[in-house]
């Protein structure tokens, strides 16, 4: 006997659809190489965290030359991080001999999920981790009674 579709079934189906979409997006993020032979660059691991008053972007830059690190705003919601590496590395250094390529820099673009005030952004490189603090765009105050 067929059960009638209840509101709970509908909700559950929607949730499953959304989860499937999220899973697909997650998969797409990893489905390309982290290295670019033409640009001699590696994509560093990056992380974005949003808090109430700021967005913090971090990037793991092992073996980067601190003086060469550049952070630039490409657009309101995109920043680019580049750095040169202290030494050139190639696939052979990782024991991989069936690919050829030499890498000498890091490069990645990070999209920002909320609007930020790029003029007041600060960046700091410490213990091999680059930390970029971007204050969120201030809106208007709403008085609490």
């Amino acid at each position: 006997m067929r059960r009638r579709r209840s509101i709970f079934d509908i909700i559950r189906e929607r949730m499953e659809e959304l989860e499937a979409i999220a899973d697909e997006m997650l998969d797409q993020l990893v489905e390309r190489p982290s290295w670019d032979v033409n640009a001699h660059s590696l994509e560093p691991l990056c992380d974005v965290s949003v808090s109430s008053d700021r967005v913090i972007v971090t990037a793991d830059l092992p073996k980067a030359d601190p003086r060469s690190i550049r952070v630039s705003g490409i657009s309101d919601d995109l920043i680019e991080i580049t750095a040169n590496m202290k030494v050139k590395i190639n696939f052979e250094d990782f024991g991989v001999t069936h690919r050829r390529g030499e890498f000498s820099r890091f490069s990645c673009r990070v999209s920002l999920p909320v609007p930020v005030d790029t003029n007041r952004a600060k960046a700091r490189f410490r213990n091999g981790i680059l930390e970029i603090i971007l204050p969120r765009k201030k809106g208007y105050e709403i008085k609490v009674e």
Binding site: D23, L26, D27, L29, V30, S34, L42, E43, P44, L45, D47, S49, T58, D60, P62, K63, I89, F94, R126, N127, G128, I129, E131
Partner: protein
């Protein structure tokens, strides 16, 4: 297509050994530690995993195929390490098989090495180690070796299931967790967790290389970290940050 997990021995694995488990997780602490121990002690592959629950991925080493999840030994010790992140959908089946195998092999004790993610890791000069165990006697041993037990909190993922299953089946198990980065490979945390392991099993595994070559390790582990991040999100690893609900002492 049967959905089981097999652990196939290449050589006969003796009973009663100690086992160390280092699976990809936050900061890849366990994975880096396991890999380091295997290379320092020059352990050979003694067993490997075979399962349709794993993605169709193999390792090629010197042109020959190898399973991505393997057990290395012997020298009186077994180390389980994985080159891939364990798919979150298959964690239960794989951990149950591991614990069954550990029981069959009458393993003396199993140590899982991992990380305790902290949001402000790069402000921490020296990460601390915390522990958990499957029985009171091992808790005492942690205390005797200066390792604080986690009083109250959540543990998520493969090592959580291992600890729970071992406690149920009376298999001695200890979880060692060093404060680490959530999303970046943390060889320093791995070195700290190995030092804690050294105290617990009375060994002298040298970690100076891990610290000296920290940047190389971080460079080499980038791709494994990315894959692991995806699985950590699926199993909602961030639950470990949650403060457990109200309770009455």
């Amino acid at each position: 297509m049967s959905e089981k997990v097999e652990i196939i021995e290449r050589v006969s694995v003796p009973n009663g050994l100690k086992m160390i488990l280092g699976l990809p997780d936050v900061g890849l602490v366990g994975a880096i530690a396991a890999s380091h121990i295997i290379s320092k002690l020059r352990l050979e592959e003694v067993a490997y995993f075979k399962s349709n629950l794993l993605p169709p991925v193999i390792m090629l080493e010197k042109g020959l195929p190898r399973s991505p999840i393997r057990v290395f030994g012997d020298k009186g010790i077994l180390v389980l390490s994985s080159e891939i992140a364990i798919p979150s959908a298959s964690i239960y089946a794989i951990m149950e098989r591991i614990v069954d195998w550990v029981g069959e092999k009458k393993t003396e004790v199993i140590y899982t090495l991992g990380g305790l993610p902290v949001p402000n890791r790069h402000n921490i000069e020296k990460p601390k180690v915390f522990g958990a165990a499957s029985n009171e006697r091992l808790l005492k041993k942690l205390d005797e070796n200066g390792i604080k037990a986690i009083e109250r909190g959540f543990l998520v993922g493969p090592q959580a299931l291992i600890l729970n299953l071992c406690a149920e089946k009376g298999i001695p198990a200890v979880t060692l967790l060093a404060e680490c980065f959530y999303n970046y490979p943390d060889p320093e945390a791995s070195s700290i967790v190995i030092q804690a392991l050294n105290r617990m099993i009375d060994m002298e595994i040298d970690v100076s290389e891990l610290i000296e070559k920290g940047e190389e390790v971080r460079l080499a582990m980038r791709d494994m970290m990315r894959r692991t991040q995806a699985e950590l999100a699926r199993m909602k690893k961030s639950h470990e940050y949650d403060i457990p609900g109200y309770y009455i002492r």
